[in-house]
Symmetry: C2
Subunit: 381 residues, 2 copies
């Protein structure tokens, strides 16, 4: 096992009706409600929050979009400074929570906020405290310190221990009004978060492996039920799995990949494909192209997740097919051609990765630009 | 899944050599070193800590024993008050860390410190910050807010969110000088911590179940190697499993038992049997006596942990036997007669539990005093 540090101070308040605890969770008077495009007004969450927080002074910034933008965040940064707002309450999914984290840092940074994503040398020492009410189980942002923000067609990620949410309220029933498509995407997103931390090479860390497998098996079992129905328990298990997938616990002391996300982010930025859907496109092809480097873990994944022995390349194909069929069962396609995208994608994505200096990627930096080409070619149809 | 809250702000610093980070982890000047009976002087940890903390003003309280006492804790409370000590560094296993937590609260409580264990109505609002260097993988105290303290033959537990260690340094190699007996006990302790949170009844929480099983399987695989050798990776996996077992993550939203601990604490208090060893005595007999109430989870435990179908009482006997054999492989006996204890134990323990009002116990309060009698009778030989 590699040496590691683990720290995650977010308080999780999980279950139906827990919004009632909101007031005691926010020991501040001036609170910004940050949310998306109005779904919380339709499903009653907005009114509920306002009534529970009736004794606070509330401000609002709405209209945070999927792939949240610098511009919207800047609007909130300006308002927080102007109104001396003390706390940010993000209500929504990963986009809103990611925005809240970036805003929390941006308020106290005197340069251009975008620097926070482009300059890894910045020493940030202060943030506005934040909390979240999660309405979409997917990204895990509710219990970690990472965020992804877009500016034009640039989509970049960063993190800071200063922006762990102080609390996150996870009420599975708040997600019952989601589009089915978002639920399916959310299962895939969580699944691939686990795979990024799991499908690398053995590192003498059997507990982390088994905990990762615990999440994969639960998502395979509960994800399709969560996708097809509004059964509370299935959604609760989907939601808690998505949080567990990226709260850091399964990734301690082990190598991590994150190539699927690296390529996926470019597909979203270039073609507007939903984040979870880009992962479902990239992962199967990556598993095939990197099958030699990932041999031992693919074998273990086949054995423990799909109950099959993986000995040959044909077996690897079967394991990949099972993974794709799982994504399909969630209504998520796995090929670029499903989005009308063809060979032109290869040069576009590799050019961008090259420009950013992102390649080589992966647990052993073995995913060169050449390999990215192969992965994209394999993902076309 | 039941509604739940999860909060655990302890920073884990894991791996060989990480004591080097100690100074930056303690932003205080006046520090109490709290430790046990001198093993840290023999194995070099004491000198190492003193050299890393050479710029601090250090105080010491040593001689904390297994089943740590009120008297020793009071000595530290008095010293902290007198010397205005700002931080407690616990160096040792669960006994030392448990003491540090109790001391941290006791310093700021103006009544008799023992009240903290006997009066659940106390509103404690302040504590002295603490951290730990773990030298014995077993109790999980390094990453939770619970403590067990003894006074005479009373052994009582409590907890407070005020006493999570700010950090815990887990360097597996610091445990290489342990007696083999302590290593074996530690594996059993961690295993039973998981069983207390797992072997109850199904609660629609498949992720928690699988994460519990992940720890059980890892302890079965790595525990005996950790017991027999000083292999770094085996000890590291044992250590991280023991921490994971009681950091709260596997127990969220599910029923819990804790009867084995309830009875075990009395066996330690009455007969001085090591804590982990009492658990190995109680659990197998409890599994048999409560086999109807725990039927579905015993079946799942048999299936997923021991790879066998549990259909009949004879199958339950086999599962229990496998569990006992695992304990034996760690040098830990599973019967009271191994300690020269016979029938007299039944009245002694039940009298004490009755006096404390501890029964009925268990996930459905189904472990009455009558059941405790049966469990003890079954554990004699």
């Amino acid at each position: 096992m590699e040496n590691f540090e683990f720290f995650n101070p977010t308080k999780i308040v999980f279950g139906k009706g827990e919004i009632q605890k909101l007031e005691s969770l926010i020991p501040y008077e001036r609170v910004l409600l940050l949310y998306g495009q109005g779904s919380i007004k339709k499903n009653g969450v907005y009114d509920h929050v306002k009534s529970v927080l009736k004794d606070k002074i509330l401000f609002e910034v709405s209209g945070v979009q999927p792939n949240p933008t610098l511009e919207k965040a800047q609007e909130a940064i300006d308002l927080i400074r102007q109104e001396k707002i003390q706390f940010i309450l993000a209500i929504g999914g990963g986009s809103v929570i990611d925005s809240a984290k970036f805003i929390a840092l941006g308020v106290h940074y005197r340069g251009e906020a975008w620097d926070i994503l482009t300059n890894r040398e910045l020493m940030l020492t202060q943030s506005t405290p934040l909390g979240s009410i999660l309405t979409l189980p997917a990204t895990g942002s509710e219990m970690n310190c990472y965020f992804v923000i877009s500016k034009g067609t640039d989509k970049l990620a960063n993190g800071s221990p200063l922006v762990f949410p102080q609390f996150s309220i996870l009420d599975p029933s708040l997600s019952f009004t989601l589009d089915q498509r978002q639920v399916g995407n959310g299962v895939v997103d969580a699944f691939v978060h686990v795979m990024e931390q799991y499908l690398t090479f053995p590192a003498n860390a059997p507990l982390q492996d088994r905990m990762a497998e615990a999440i994969l098996l639960t998502l395979i079992e509960e994800g399709p039920k969560s996708y097809m129905t509004n059964d509370y328990n299935s959604r609760a298990n989907h939601m808690w799995s998505a949080t567990a997938a990226l709260c850091g616990f399964i990734g301690v002391g082990v190598p991590q990949d994150w190539t699927t996300h690296g390529i996926g982010h470019e597909l979203t930025a270039l073609f507007g494909i939903d984040h979870g859907r880009t992962l479902a496109i990239v992962l199967p092809s990556l598993m095939w192209v990197m099958r030699t480097e990932k041999k031992e873990k693919i074998k273990q994944y086949g054995d423990r997740i799909w109950n099959m022995k993986v000995e040959s390349d044909d077996d690897v194909k079967i394991v990949i097919k099972k993974t794709e069929e799982f994504f399909h069962s969630l209504g998520v396609p796995t090929k670029l051609k499903d989005y009308g995208i063809s060979i032109e994608v290869v040069a576009q994505v590799t050019d961008r990765l090259k420009k950013r200096g992102f390649a080589p990627m992966g647990e052993r930096e073995a995913v060169t630009l050449k390999k990215v080409e192969e992965i994209l070619l394999g993902a076309i149809e």
